[in-house]
Amino acid sequence: MNSETNPEQRPETPPQLRYLHPVAMLIGAIKTIRRWVGAAAIPGIAALAGTGWRLELAILGVIVLVVGSGVWGVLSWRATTYSVSGGAFYLRRGVLQKSERTIPLEHVQSVDTVQGIVQRFFGVVELRVETAGGGTNQPDAALSALDRGAAETLRREIEGSRRVSAEDEEESGPEVIRKLSTRDLLVAGATSGQIGVALSLVAVASQVFDNFLPNNITERIFELLAPRSLTFVLLLALVLALFAWLLSIGGTVLAYSGFTLSRDGDFLYIRRGLLEKREATLPLARIQAVRIVEGILRQPFGLAMLRVESAGYGRGTEDVSVSTTLFPLLPRREAERLLLVAAPEFVTEAPLESLPARALRRYVVRALIPTLLIALVVGLNVWFAAGSVPLALLALLLLPPAALHGFFRYRAAGWALDEDRLVVRNRFISRVTSVVPRRRIQSRSVVESPFQRRAGLATFRVRVASGSGGTAFRVVHLEAFQADALLDRLGPGRPESRARAAGSDAALES
């Protein structure tokens, strides 16, 4: 019997060691060079300056660095092998210090492929294997260069073990749910609201520019500008803003170009990127919550972005935030239709309950208090500096926008309990509607401040897993009895009894 079973297992068991694509040597060399340049640039330049700028020395240094890195690249390519056998993924690497990593296949959380510029040039991909545990920013195993075929084989080997009904699905392949059109891509960039971020980048750049330019040039530019000061400054600000806007469009195009969301069984696949092609796998079972984000520039046009909060996901990738973009831009009313195909657990069309009218005052007051402090400080400073009270009172102009912000936050806030899903809507700048299924809730709380208690209001909060930590969703200032009811109804228990309880509990409906 043994002699019969063994030959069957044999072809599986000998770990077939595989090497990376030879381009890995080049990538390794570039990485080494980059690291050394980073570490040695400043001491190197200092040393060069100390020896009186001997060019030969600099050239020698560069040659040593390039040759050394090349050799190191070859050696580390030779030392790196991987294999899949006996239900685990093995990665061996290290030239001097050998390391061997074993990742049981059932712990693998996602297999992503990324294509940097070098990889694209040679038509290879980087493959990243991530597990659920750990808290580091590095992927658990990264294979810097594989050709497409090898990457696909490896992905199949790793994921194959996790898919029970793999056969049916693999015939059909991933089904594309939605693609981002070029027009939508540009609209997404134009309305991304990252102008602020881009603007600060521009500001930093101009600052750096300022420091590096010789002083007299800056002075001369200033002299040139001085006579036409106000118009010119305004014009300059406009140009800078326009530049920042274009920059933010460019950033969006780089990140989201060719965004494709597809689904294959219990896995979502997200492909995106212009220069750096990224391919991410998102197991449906990992999604903890979905957010429908209506940016302030998008809401008037009825547009939104879909994001997901997912556990143990998003580490190691460039966008370090643990919430991942599920789809960058789509009409708000089509969000539910997309979710129905992509993640039906999160579909809800329940009408939202708004907050009681007496919560409005609290929202406004809460927005006013910090602004009042700022206005006070600014006003006092102006008063001391300029000595004019009317000018100082101008600081009070900060208050109406703050009050308005509070009002808009109040108006956007709402919640609903749709069977087993909690829906929370709120706004800071963007209006965000979040859907959290009951079985994803890790803990729930009711918090009351003395002021809230006097008004019969409370804050309801649930926490869900997100990344390696957690994130919270809050309904601030809802009726205290409704908060208690939510606390009660979102608890564990049989769904049937809950549904019955929901029917008899009229308190929540009114």
């Binding site: 809730i441 803990s443 009351e448 608890g491």
Partner: protein, 159 residues
């Protein structure tokens, strides 16, 4: 769910919090004293204004040492129910938190040097969204609470 959780923390928690309160009050008092001293010496205002920082910090220190610990103890309650852990705490913001046992991944007890002196332990239980704790239980109680949570979490997991 309307009734408060049944169990309280160990009464020795108040002693512990007073001690840590004293440790925290010392730098505050020193700061206030220095402030008063500086005001009286350098600026030389009336003695009443000069004493304000010292008095203010004295009041604050008294609050931290005498009032906060007992208020905090009176509010803190917990209960291990069949399905969830129920926590209530907070002096100004009173919060009531429910953590389903099925979500609990593991449980620890922890004892700091002062806690050890007083025979107290803190129970910490972790969910995928982060840790929660029940502080300052008598060590044997903490151990039984820990074991009970672990046991219940395990059986709830199987369901």
């Amino acid at each position: 769910m309307k009734d408060e959780p049944a169990e309280r923390l160990d009464p020795r928690a108040k002693t512990l919090w007073r001690l840590t309160g004293i440790l925290r009050a010392v730098p505050i008092l020193v700061g206030g004293g220095l402030g008063s001293w500086g005001l009286l010496r350098e600026v030389g205002p009336s003695i009443y204004i000069g004493l304000l920082p010292a008095l203010g910090t004295l009041v604050l220190a008294a609050l931290i040492v005498f009032f906060v610990p007992s208020l905090r103890w009176r509010r803190w309650r917990y209960e291990i129910r069949a399905e969830e852990v129920d926590l209530q705490r907070g002096i100004v913001w009173v919060s009531r938190t429910l953590v389903p046992l099925a979500r609990i991944q593991h449980v620890d007890t922890r004892r700091g040097p002062l806690e050890r002196r007083l025979g107290l332990s803190t129970v910490i239980f972790y969910t995928a969204a982060g840790p929660n704790e029940i502080p300052e239980l008598a060590t044997p109680v903490a151990e039984s609470v820990r074991d009970r949570i672990a046991e219940l979490a395990r059986t709830r997991d199987e369901l």
